[in-house]
Amino acid sequence: MVWFFFIFIFIFTGKSKEAEIKRINKELANIRSKFKGDKALDGYSKKKYVCKLLFIFLLGHDIDFGHMEAVNLLSSNKYTEKQIGYLFISVLVNSNSDLIRLINNGLKNDLASRNPTYMNLALHCVANVGSREMAEAFAADIPRVLVAGDTMDSVKQSAALCLLRLNRTSPDLVPMGEWTARVVHLLNDQHLGVVTAATSLITTLAQKSPDDFKTAVSLAIARLSRIVTSASIDLQDYTYYFVAAPWLSVKLLRLLQCYPPPEDGALRGRLTECLETILNKAQEPPKSKKVQHSNAKNAVLFEAISLIIHHDSEPTLLVRACNQLGQFLQHRETNLRYLALESMCTLASSEFSHEAVKTHIETVINALKTERDVSVRQRAVDLLYAMCDRSNAKQIVAEMLSYLENADYSIREEIVLKVAILAEKYAVDYTWYVDTILNLIRLAGDYVSEEVWYRVIQIVINRDDVQGYAAKTVFEALQAPACHENLVKVGGYILGEFGNLIAGDSRSSPLVQFQLLHSKFHLCSVPTRALLLSSYIKFINLFPEVKATIQEVLRSDSQLRNADVELQQRAVEYLRLSCIASTDILATVLEEMPPFPERESSILAKLKRKKGPGVLPNIDDVRQEREKERSLNGSLDDGSDAASKTPFLAPCAPPPPSVLSAGTMTSLYPTADLLGPTAPPPSGGASLLVDVFSDSLSAVAHAPLDMSPASGPMSDDNFSRFICKNNGVLFENQLLQIGLKSEYRQNLGRIYVFFGNKTSTQFLHFTSTLNIHTKPAEATVDAGAQVQQIINIECISDFTDAPALDIHFRYGGTLQSFVVKLPVMLNKFFQPTEMVSQDFFQRWKQLGAPQQEVQKIFKAQHAMDTEVTKAKIIGFGTALLDGVDPNPTNFVGAGVIHTKNTQMYRLTLRTSRDTVSQRLSDLLSEQF
């Protein structure tokens, strides 16, 4: 066309943008005058100018006129003029409501014209625009066109695809009706084009209402079988580079993925046969060297593998699929390697092929190291994550860590999350877990999100066997001259909690620990500094000997007059607290953190969020399910989703300023925010320190000596944990979590029992009775809420059995009841007694009667670690006497048990080179 010449000239000779705009404006003015001109334009010139406008629009300029002329073109009876009109409309008219009625009118005429070419144009236009207005106008007509007997094949195809489009943009407007049954029969159509279009449509509709299209399964399998087994010449028109109807095959396989494997045996056999044939064909030598041939063939193959994975029922097919993908892993085509990694990722979640996938681990690790394309490496990471299980976790985590050092920045955070999850999920010994996470922080500290370091602390707090090791490791890691701030946070927190476990060693004495932490202080951001201040005050509690040093630091101007209000407040309050509070109060306020309730790992939640609705979530779910079945560490990652906010030390939440205002006991409770949101609500605890010791308690339970064991199923899985601890989770199932916080002083004890409702519905008629006394808990527990019950205990005489708590409630109509043993043991009434060597041996000798001594020699169940042993002895309730026994491998403890009868028992226990464990406590208590 002539005008292209002009445009050609100005585009390719025009030097500047301005020149182009100038030229276009001139052209636009010209067109405008033509449209506005007196004499009516003929069809050809109208088409010409509309086409010019379109061109100018596509060059990126705005067009604000000419719509009317374009709509006029629709009513032309020349094909080329109509075509330009429709093109203009589908490119430029999105929802210009003034014109939509006119356009719809034109479309209606064309649809009713019975001229297949015009009908096609109209259907294209509806499909391309797909606006709601059009859907409203045509959604009812198009199904009729689709199933009418006299419709031409080409129009049927367009109608099917047009309906598909409308169904996607406004599904509510497409009526389902008797036409649906007839659409299914289009799968039998002679014309393969119609079948292809119909398959697409049915696949989409079947996702919405699978039952309506069930009959499509058998037809699709029959169709597929005919294509797969036919010699390619049979389908001349639809053979693409020697592959028979690849598009249709892919679509049929897609459609079958909307349904479970067919139940009918014959049908199922036929489908299996098809899938086998497709897998066989992959082994045949290629019929053409062209990449199109292999692409088309493999497209069908990959879709078939997707179907096999979807059915997940034929082990032989799954393993064959896996082997086929294994071949592709080393293919020279990057595309195939990428797809093989991707498919294998889903294959890894099937129990039949998980092992087969694992055999490719070396290849995948190699891919991680050598692939030049980051998106392929990303797939390799995904696959490693998916194929990881207990047997190969160490290897995979190590490989991921070493990859992390040079990983692409865009995927680092994801890898960090994955490593953290795998390390936690498959940790056999938790020292490995701690090492891995610290390594992670060292290698990629910037990408370690809050969730990751929260989680490591949760785990360390919940596992007493790893606390000493964790303290030692962070202490060593902090020695590095430059360490990441996240490491300082973890280090500060862990040393603050468990620094005492390594304080025995002179190289990590309290003062050294403190100085080490403080050397990092000035390099850190405000939240970290706030956290460190909390660690310091915990140090004051743990190590009275560094109190003066720490107070000195808190008192310095840089703290007390810090510009940051949070830091200043913490410094002031902690300083005051350390000055006015007695050791007892300090010990209560700054007590070790109670274990966190076990729930879904916040990291996992984060990874899911990050992945969004897209790629992998269902695999994770499936895997998780399976993990639970295998009862690995399932408990660590099930439960509610609320774990993401776990501000243990609440580094950003300032303690309310009331600490300063009064010296009352209640004012200390704001510090309870150290316990985080999982800890008991302060409302109940506020009176704790006062009440525990008063004698005028309303509901003191006089724990009898001979409590008969309660009937019914006893839950005492967590019971033994409480021998050396006072706080924690006593019982947990899917519905209910029971937490415990207890306090003992001489012969009195008070237990706070917290019943947490983990479900989303209310518990009704909730009763919880002790077999000896009752102070009723509230009768309803709201969804997600927690209620508290207080139990007071007095030890009258010595005893062996623990009281049992009977719990009954209605949940969703069914009565639930179980019995939980309360961890009240004799050793809880220990009063630590400090004495010097001479006194000790004097008393020791007084208790010389043979029946008064128990000695037991047993094999250590855990590693023999001095610090752990010490912690256990102290937790047991006795005082640890250093320097009494000249042999450092002997531990000496002393304590007094108070009972109401004021019979004094002096228990002095001697154990030779062992860990003081639960077994001994059983034996001990029986003797009294």
Partner: protein, 130 residues
């Protein structure tokens, strides 16, 4: 398929076809981001990539990039062949097609695409254009 873009090595869009309703602003942003992402990739890299929650399939023919965005469950290889088929069709029509053909006969390129793909699905082997 969600959309198809054709753009040159200089990043200039030559053809765009959207099968999802999006505002002009979103369209511009998506094409700008995507063109940058793809142009930054090296020739030997694989033709698929994850981009937001879509799968992108692209291929370069001479100076033109053909790029399709498909949904998660769609087949990548067959999409690659859709692109190739489209190029073959253009080639047949124009007789060894080049970028200029598409610039100056954009309406033909659109018509061929419409004949071939409807609502983002391949439809049939197009008849000879009139």
């Amino acid at each position: 398929m969600q959309f198809m873009l054709l753009f040159s090595r200089q990043g200039k869009l030559r053809l765009q076809k959207w099968y999802v309703p999006l505002s002009d602003k979103e369209r511009k942003k998506i094409s700008r981001d995507l063109v940058q992402t793809i142009l930054a990739r090296k020739p030997k890299m694989c033709s698929f990539l994850e981009w937001r929650d879509l799968k992108i399939v692209y291929k370069r023919y001479a100076s033109l990039y053909f790029c399709c965005a498909v949904e998660d469950q769609d087949n990548e290889l067959i999409t690659l062949e859709i692109i190739h088929r489209y190029v073959e069709l253009l080639d047949k029509y124009f007789g060894s097609v080049c970028e200029l053909d598409i610039i100056f006969n954009f309406e033909k390129a659109y018509f061929i695409l419409d004949e071939f793909l409807l609502g983002g699905r391949p439809r049939r082997r197009p008849r000879r254009m009139c």
